[in-house]
Amino acid sequence: MAIDAPTRRYFRRMVAVSAIYVAAIFAASSIIPDDAKATPLTVAIALVPGIAVLAFIWAIGSFLAELTDEYLRFLEVRKALIATAMTLALTATWGILEIYTDVPRIEIFWVFPLWCIGLGVGALVNKLTLGDGGCP
């Protein structure tokens, strides 16, 4: 099946944003020494993956706006909602455990990767309940 123009643009944007995100994380891990103080430089370095996350969400939003097929848009929205629900529920639960029990602390950095995994879970839920996973 031919890939339509909005999906092609979405792919291009996601590849670019993902590359920037991964590169920024590798750069941060090699530039910032362990236990470094928060300085304007370290904050500036940390802002790059943060901005990449914003671009990631912008790419999804643009894709939703450009999709002319309402059913595919519905599938994509469901995926994002499932990812958000899963992420918030898991982090809220683990957060309470961290506050009141001796469970190991998980760095807040992992929230976004968890949300991305949630998108995959959303596609699986779509597939199991509707027979269609959605776009990429």
Partner: protein
């Protein structure tokens, strides 16, 4: 919501892909609407009705 899309399509000997192309939607959309997994918006329901030259009520049936 039940609908007569599959019957109307079969009467014209159209595949799901043929209907999808005429409606400018994906084949998945046609399949989801036919099987009742997804109810189309009013604008898409009008496009479907216009394509078959029928009213919406003649295609989509109340549960």
């Amino acid at each position: 919501m039940k609908n007569r899309l599959k019957v109307l399509r079969a009467e014209r000997d159209w595949s799901q892909g043929d209907l999808a192309e005429r409606l400018k939607v994906s084949r998945q959309s046609v399949n989801a609407i036919e099987t009742g997994k997804y109810d189309p918006s009013l604008p898409l329901a009008f496009r479907i009705a216009d394509l078959f030259d029928l009213s919406i009520e003649e295609i989509f049936l109340r549960d």
